[in-house]
Structures are given as structure tokens and as C-alpha cells.
Symmetry: D2
Subunit: 346 residues, 4 copies
């Protein structure tokens, strides 16, 4: 039996941080001992998240050495370019780190700097970091000291394309990912476009010219394809809080395969990927609050265009839930520990 791990959460005032608290507060092998917030240090965590009144009885602490002295594992739920400044010292101090931000996701540090607009603070750690998508990297995650939890779009899109690309069934030069997200993926950013009055009753594309998740998705697909891939990625904003729906288009390059069977086989042993029956279409609410990716594969009119529909909750399988899944692997617990509860619907 795994013993209880003492956990610190850095950046606990954001949405991914709140979701970590929800999941870890019910996890038998986890004890949250510190939640940091520079701005709110000294105030109860439950003041920021009233849904946790009576559940989390901690005050926020400043993110200094003291905060981490007593913990085994540190989760970063910070904006990008923050974790990279603190991770080296934590690893030196023998802590293990799960970073939910983008700092250690891209293996090409030049590309990282180009997309994030700053120099990387510890490029030497990038190679050591393990990309935290268990369906790609299960064994490596178990042994890692530094896990880079994937972005939300990459989770939905890479899992959706994986069976096709891995098996060489489609033209990887012409992949299209038309993805739609709820707004919580943007965190609590105070930007006009995220105001209720600006989002309600409207739908739009954004970042058509380029989105930071594009290189991350390409990196994973290229690894699966064993070579470069051509991907057009168009993200859209849906007037809802949670959920990603990726509609994926690819051109068949090989005939005669039963795509439904290919998908079912590919994910037969995955606890958190659910291939729906032929003809079904997943809805984002079917995974709301749950650590689950549900998907369906279609071939409209029996033509050469394959359409894959892949949904996740961006804050769970796309962030905090997947991080806890990695945590389970890292501590040798059952991978589903603390993650088996279904979401509420409606």
C-alpha cells in the first residue's frame, strides 16, 4: 500500500488549482499541506473557493522555501514561465514536480521561446521532463521526477488522432483539427473578451494565425507518425465554462481497415479513454467534471475523409485530472485512484 504523499500546490487561486484541490481532497494517498498564493497569503483557501468551505481548512501561504519544506510532491498550476524559475531548486531538494503549465512541454527550447516570448530559465531540465500523457508515456511518467502535464487542446486532439497516425492510416500532411473550448481554459484572465456580456450568445474562432498549443500537438503527432506532420489547428470559443470538443479531419491513406475496431483496440486497456459505439457522437457534458476522453470515429458517406470527435473536460482530463493520473503512476498507486467518480449531469 502506498503511503500518503504530502502535496504543495503552487498557484492555487486559478481554475486548475481549484480542480486539483477538489480531486486531491478526496484522494486516499494525498494530503495537501500547502497551497501558495502570493496575493492571498494568510487568507483561507475556502474564501477564494467557497465550494471548499468545510473541505479544505488551509490558509494560502507565500510561495517560499518554507511552503515546500514539508512536502513530497509539488504541483504547479501557474501561468507559463513561472514554474521554470522554481523547479530546479525543488528537484535539488528532492521533491518531485508535476507542472500543469507549458514550461516543460516542448522539447525544442527555441520553439518554446518563440511561442512564449521569453528565454527558458532552465533549458537543461527540458530533456529530463516527461510529457505527462499516460496514453503515450506511461512507463516514463512512473519514473519521472519532473512531469510536464499536457495542454487541454493537445490532450483531446492527440488522443483523437493517435490510432490513425500510429497505424499509418491517414495522410499526415493534411490533418485538420477544428477545436472548440469552454472559457475556463483561459483561466481567470481579466480580459474583456472573457466577460459574460461579451461571450454569452456568441461563438467565434480565435488564434487562427497560430496558437501556442500548435507546436505541442505537432510534437506529439510527429512522434506518433515517426516524422513531420502538417496540421491546421483552428480553436474556437464556446459560450460555456468547461469542455473541449475536437473535430478532427484526415484523409485516408490506406483502405480496408475497420476504423471502429482500430479505435477500440487502441484504447482497450485505457481507463480514461472511452471509444463510443459506431455512429455515436459524444457531448462535452458527458465528461464534465470527469477524467475521461470520449471519442467516436466516423467516415461520412463512406468516403475518404475520416472524422473523429473527441471530448474532454479541459480542467480535468485536460489539466488537473490528468496531473493526478500522472501522480498516481508516480507513486505506484492504482492509476484510477481518486479519479473514478463520474461527473454530475445535467
Amino acid at each position: 500500500m502506498t503511503e500518503k504523499q504530502r502535496i504543495a500546490i503552487v498557484g492555487g487561486t486559478g481554475y486548475a488549482g481549484a480542480e486539483l484541490l477538489r480531486l486531491l481532497s478526496a484522494h486516499p494517498n494525498a494530503e495537501v499541506v500547502a497551497v501558495t498564493s502570493r496575493g492571498d497569503a494568510g487568507t483561507p483557501v475556502a474564501d477564494a473557493y467557497p465550494q471548499l468551505r468545510g473541505v479544505i481548512d488551509l490558509d494560502f501561504v507565500a510561495p517560499d522555501d518554507h511552503a515546500f519544506a514539508n512536502c513530497d510532491i509539488v504541483f504547479f498550476a501557474t501561468p507559463h514561465a513561472a514554474a521554470m524559475h522554481d523547479v530546479p531548486a525543488l528537484l535539488d531538494a528532492g521533491k518531485r514536480v508535476i507542472d500543469l503549465s507549458a514550461d516543460f512541454r516542448l522539447k525544442d527550447v527555441e520553439e518554446w521561446s518563440a511561442w512564449y516570448g521569453v528565454e527558458h530559465a532552465c533549458p537543461e531540465l527540458i530533456e529530463r521532463a516527461v510529457y505527462g500523457m499516460p496514453e503515450l508515456n506511461r512507463a516514463a511518467i512512473a519514473d519521472a521526477n519532473l512531469v510536464a502535464a499536457p495542454g487541454c487542446y493537445p490532450t483531446a486532439i492527440v488522443l483523437g488522432f493517435k490510432p490513425l497516425v500510429e497505424a499509418g492510416l491517414v495522410d499526415v500532411e493534411r490533418l485538420i483539427a477544428d477545436a472548440k473550448t469552454g472559457v475556463s481554459g483561459a483561466g481567470k484572465s481579466l480580459k474583456p473578451g472573457f466577460l459574460f456580456a461579451e461571450m454569452q450568445e456568441s461563438f467565434k474562432a480565435y488564434g487562427v494565425a497560430g496558437h501556442r498549443h500548435l507546436p505541442e500537438i505537432r510534437q506529439s503527432l510527429a512522434a506518433l507518425a515517426g516524422g513531420n506532420v502538417g496540421l491546421t489547428f483552428v480553436p474556437h470559443l464556446v459560450p460555456m465554462i468547461r469542455g473541449i470538443h475536437a473535430t478532427l479531419y484526415a484523409q485516408l491513406a490506406a483502405q480496408g481497415h475497420d476504423l471502429q475496431a482500430v479505435y477500440e483496440r487502441a484504447y482497450a486497456d485505457e481507463p480514461f479513454v472511452d471509444v463510443l459505439p459506431a455512429g455515436a457522437m459524444p457531448e462535452t457534458r458527458h465528461v464534465r467534471g470527469a477524467n475521461m476522453c470520449r471519442m467516436a470515429v466516423h467516415r461520412p458517406g463512406d468516403g475518404d475523409t475520416v472524422v473523429v470527435l473527441s471530448v474532454i473536460d479541459n480542467l480535468v482530463k485536460g489539466a488537473a485530472g490528468q496531473a493526478v493520473q500522472c501522480f498516481n503512476l508516480m507513486i505506484g498507486a492504482d492509476e484510477t485512484c481518486g479519479l473514478a467518480v463520474p461527473g454530475a449531469l445535467p
Copy 2:
């Protein structure tokens, strides 16, 4: 240690039924052995509720004797005037029953018939039925064979008024409950007014002339007041799925009381009533998915009008969660068993 109870859920295709399944599937003392649905018998429960794929592995069964043979406790999550036809036989067969519908809530059977428009099928059982609000009736619930789980509005409103009325601090002739609900309280009714295109971006009152929850609320308040009460109850429909917010108005009849202290004392030992700090204002999302009633008491301008704000999730503390709370009492388990998980936010 309590042993596992075998449970049947009647009317499992509605929202309260789905919520029962969510809560009971994670409950250590419960094993759902049958979910009935006349229309969907033979099809997987998870087809109706894809969020339960991989969690509930049962087919719907027809609601006949066979369905109940193997169970200890039956939950009814049916529309009104259904449970009353089946309950007598179930009680005779030694089952215990928790009815989430309105059939056994009103002690005055004439009034029940007047509001629900049918004769009661088993008026002789009404007296035996225990009203399932633990904060009013804890001991009686523990011993009951037939529990009438309260309506959603009555839960929010009665809990909100209780400390004032019980202590005789307000004029009970002039109580006002201005209540607002999300649409899931109406269940899956196929009425035009519940269509997305008719509800989104709109707010309205309904049932101003009279709502079925009015006599139920009056019955409980009268018991607390020790005599008749005068209550104006105006329900409103909010463009959201879950949540009830009751704004309660009463005229102070006694001076010199510290209302904040009165409320904190009244609910000090209640696991599922949370009195917020002075000045706070609860939001329905603070209880979304959770079996919790959060409330705050205000006295604007230090005048004679007391304003109480009381919020619940209508499907949890207002329906399935409260039913599970009663279940815990009935089987001698810890009252919070299976109900301690916080809701997801945002």
C-alpha cells in the same frame, strides 16, 4: 459497520434518478441492483446517461415485483402520483422506501388532492410517512420505513426561515419567499417553456397565483411556529440548470437579538447547513453538485426587515442528496457518508 444495502431506483431516467445513481455509485454502503424504467427496459442505463458509461453496468428493468425482489431499499424518483400506487406492497414486502416525489409530503390529504388533482391511493400511509428533512426530523427518519423526501424549494426556504421562526423573532403572518430556480427542478418535461431557445437570456416569475410547494412550505413553517403562518411565495425561473436561491423577507417582532449568532447556533451541529460569515452572500454555484445549504442573514440598514439568502443545488440537497442523507440515517451509517465530496467550480 453497516453492511451494504441493495437498492432499487424507480424512475431512473429523470434528473433526480441520475443524481441518485451518481451519488450511490460512490457510496460505500450502497449497491444499486435495479433501475427501473418502463420505456427503456432492456437498454443499458449508461445509454441514457453517457456520463455513467463504465460506472453503472446495469440495464433498465420494468418496474415489476421481480425488479424489487432482491433489494432492501427502494428510492422513487418518479413524477407525483406514481409512488403511492406501489409503496403499500413494497412496505408489506418488508422493503423500506424513500420517495423523492410529492406523494407523502403533505399530512392533509385533502390539501394534497386539491393541489395534485387526483385522489390519494393510500391515505392511510400518510401518517406513517416521515418528512425527510434531517434538520427537522433526524430521529424519526432513522426509524422510518417510509420517508417523504422534501421538495427543492421547501428545503431552501424552510431551512432559511427556521432559526427565525423557531425562536419567535419575526412576524409569521407576513413572510415572503422570493425564490429562483434553475430549470432542472422541472425535470425533463417536454414543455416549450423549457426549451433552450425560450429560456436562454430571459428571466421570469411563474406560478404567482399558487405553486405546489406552497402548502409543503407552510406545513413545515407552521410546525416550527406552533401555529398558522402567512407566506407569500413567488418562484422564478433562472436561465441555468441547477441551483435554487431563496431570498426571504420577514419583519422583526423582537428586538435585541444578534441574528448572526442565532443562525450560527441553530446550525452549529448540522453537517449540511453552512451559515456564512456576517455580510457574505452565497452564490448557487457554491453548492453546485454538493449536498449543502449555504445561507446568510442580513438586516439592511439595521431596519426591521430581515433578509435571509439561502442556496442549495435543487438536485442534491433539494432532492437526491437529501434522500441519501436520509438513507444514511436509516441504515445507521454516518450521516455524511458518500456526501462529503465538494462540487466542481467553475
Copy 3:
């Protein structure tokens, strides 16, 4: 025939400003010649409001003398405590002013300062300012050079109570206004609570201890009552963009009146107040986009508590539309000019 008025709009980047542009662009007696915005000067108005591409062909200008030189009437759609600095010079220059902000609404300048937290810049103008609710002040508005357009809550609440209070039918010591608003009333404020992820699927009260519209409502009701009134006002935030629904409670002080007839008579000649048939309940979407207040009067259970339901679009009859109604009166046009188009539904 009235000639075309040249109009400047100050603070054209907010929601009330956008709504003024929408209404005035289709008004036969109005020509918008300047829209000011300190931050966006030099950029096209249609960049800020793409729905106006092809309709408004102006650039924002800085709010200096030059901007106003060429205009007859200036609309202020600014936050409070801005207009009061510019209005004196404009009046001196012979312009007429319609202020949509709160600067000239309260006749008691001490009270104004107490609620808005600053000294008033031109208290000598307060007496000259005419409160721009045509149903109260039609003749005075026609002659005014400075009109203070009412707040949104006050419009819905004062119009709703008016027939009862004016006729002395209710106890004015015990009035209750439980009001619910869409978020656009808060303007484009970048506050966390107005983010989509914080508002969607939630409902809450706010400002229970005191809201700036309280003294404004009291002032109008007191004028109608001919003496002080006691009012409890609790505002709530609805997850929608537009609409106010006021649920008003009063205790009957006089018997034997046909309240439906009282209301119909009171508003028989008002073009923008619609008394619904007995038993009806207005929805905010019934006035969305329209300069209209629809209301219904109820007496649940034929008791002594009167319930009035009053709905407006906070940006139209609660702001820009009412300002245009005043404009029509001021220039001698038909009061309904440019305001007769119904809103779109659904």
C-alpha cells in the same frame, strides 16, 4: 417638422453608448456627429462595435471642445462622476445635455456624495437638472437643458410601484423590491465576478447592505407618496446579458380596489408602459432590445400582499432608449420616434 439634431456621444465605448448609436443611427431627427473616447481616439467606432460596420462611419474623437463645437445635444454615457466636470461648460455654450450617468439624479447633494464617494463638481446645477422619466416628468423634460436619465433599477421599480403609491393603496413603510438584472447593467467593468466562467450557471444577490440605486428609487417613490417611504431593495445578478425583472411586494392599505383596473388606467396613455392582462407574467425577453416596460399586478390568494412584476431591458428603457425618449420630448418630436421597433425574439 423637427429638423435634424447634431449629436455628440461622450463615452461611446460602453454598452449604453453602443445602444445609443444603434438607436440614433435609425432616428430620423438625429445625426451623430461625434463619438468620444479618450482611449480610442482616431480609431473607427465600428472597430469597437463590429455590428455597426457599415452603419456608423465615424472615428472616435477625444472629448475636447472641438468635439462638441458642431453639435446641438450631448449624450453622456460615462461612468458616474465624469459628466459633472464637463456639463457646466456645455450648458454655457448653449448645448443641451442628456446624462445617462448618475451625476444629476439625486436632488440631495450630500446623499449623492455619500453614495458616490466624491464631492459633486457642480452642485448648483442639480436643481436645474430634470429627472428623465417621462412617466413622471414629461412636461419638465420637454423644456429641460439638462436631463438626468434614470438608472435601470429605478425605472423598473418606480414604474412598477407608481400606481399603488400614487393612489395611496399600500403601506409605503414596508415596500420590498426584489430585483434581478442581467450583467450588462454593470457595463464593461473588468471585475472577476463578471467573467463568463464566474457568472454562468450561477445566481446570487449582491449589494444587500446598500446599492446606489436605493436613494434614487426612494426619492421618486417619496415624491409619489408625498412623504418618506420605507424600502427594502435587494438586487440579484442573473446569468444573462440584458433584462431587469423587479418583483415588488407591498401590503394593501385600502380594500375594495380593482388593482388591474388601477394599473390599466394609470398607464393607458403611456406609449412605453404595457400593463399585461390579469394573470399574465412578463418575461425579460419580451422587452429585449425594446424601449418598453411590461408589468403585471397580482394578489396571490386574494390576500393583502400585492405582487407586481415589472420588466425592462436595462440598456433600452433602463438607459439609452429612455434617453432617446427624453430627446424626442426635448426636440418636440413624436415621443415614440425611432423607438417603435420591437425586439428580436427568440
Copy 4:
């Protein structure tokens, strides 16, 4: 000057009918003389659409000869397979008809029957019917007696692809239209999936295997391409009332063209197509309530995949507004007559 046309609307209780009433009630050349509804005959139109109280003062009438005796033009806003039964007699009686339903859109009557599941009642009229998209068919519409107003998806998609396909710039074998719609496109259908509790906070694809608008889109694109086209069309449902956002993907077949210039030229003279500046991304709210299609053309990473973003209000440019645009052409009025008012935002 065109004289006033007397208009009958068949099927006036649906959303397109309501939108026709809104637009025609403010149209200088239109007088609505009859609105039919079998179910609501004898009751005021304004009872069904309270936003029209005081604007439309008609009762619904039964859809018999009497209803049409007095009119010049009949608009059908009925479900499919209804208009085709009444149109022959109306044309014989000298009326002109604008059909908003699908009955006369497809030139291939076999295909029509296959998709709509019934035999066509008057196949001989199909050839005479003119497809009512002014940007394709302006002159023919002006002379038509029977206009088939286009579907909502086809309007957004065909207008979006038109410049590329017409100029032969893309591979027409591999067109993809990933389209997203608000729910009002489904009309007032009482289906569970359109309930607020089932749609709010969720996003899904539907009809992946085949949607009735697919043959309609293909028909128009084939005409533009001068030959068959290959189109994958995946519709999605957005939790909002109004708006369609089509994200269109095509592979460049010709190099060296300035796509922005191609689009601007193609639509330079169109009053209701707005090509946004390079780099812009339209939002559905920018056309809410307006008869306008706004679009933007992108080429991410300067690659070979062209992405076109095209938005309309499905009830206006996608239904009632486009029908009124056709009406204007048919009666020789200015094409923009009654359609120039911008939508309200927010």
C-alpha cells in the same frame, strides 16, 4: 415608388415566422394582412409573441383560401413538406410565393424525396422555383413568382466558399465545412435534446452521417464550380439561440493569388456580405439580429490550407431576412429596404 404589398405569412408561430413579423412590421412597402396558424386561429398573434404586443394587431387565421384572398405575396415559414401542397393553387390565383422551407430548394426531385422521406407534391414547379440567394441569383429572383429561400447552413457556407470556388482557386474535391449553429435553427421542436437542461454547458456534433442541408450546399457549390464537388459537412450545436459560424477548409489549387483581395472584390457590391479586414475573425454576435454575412479569409502559416470564417444570424440572413431581401428584389424596392437596422449588442 413601389406600392405597399399585402402579405400573408403561413406558419406564423415558429421562429422564422416571428422574425418575418418583426422585419415586415417595420418595412415601408409591406403590410401584413394575414398570419395563419391552424392551432391558434382566433387568438391574437401577440399572445404567441408578447414582444409584438402593440406592434402586430392581428389574430391568427386558419390557412384557408379566405386567408389569402386579400394578399399579394405569401411567405411560407412552415416545416418541410407543407408548402408544396398549397403553392400550386396560390400561384394559380396569381399570388407570388416566398417559401422559407426546403420544399423547392433542390432541383433533383429524387434527391429531395430521399432526404425528406416523402414524395414531392408538385415536382413540376421545382424547375420554376428560383433559389433565393441574391448573391447567386439576383436577376432571376426579381422576376420569380416562386422563390425558395435558402437554408441557414447553405447561406453561410456557400457565401463563404463562393469566391474560392468560382475562381477555381481550390481543390473542390476536398472541401470541408465545420459548421456550428445556435438552436433556433431547429425551430420550436419539442425534442429532449433542445431542452435548456440538456443543451446548456455542452457542445456536440450531430448529423455527421448526413444532414439535409448537404445536398443543398453541394448543388450550389457544384453550380459555382461547374462540376461535382466533394464536401464533408459536420454540423455542431452551440449552447446559444442564434448564430451560425462556418469554419471552411480548402486546399489551394492555384498559387500567387491575394485571397483578401479576391474576397473583397467578389463582394464589393453586395450590401449584405461584409469581408472583414485581413487577420480579423468574425463573431456570431456581430450579426445577431442583422441581415448580414460577415466573413474573413485566412491562410495559417502561409500554407496551402485556406480557412474561411463565415457568420450569419440563422434567423435573419439565414431565413427571414434573406426572404425579405428577395421580397425587395421581387417588388422592385431597394434591396436593403427594411433591412438596414443593425443588431443590438451586447
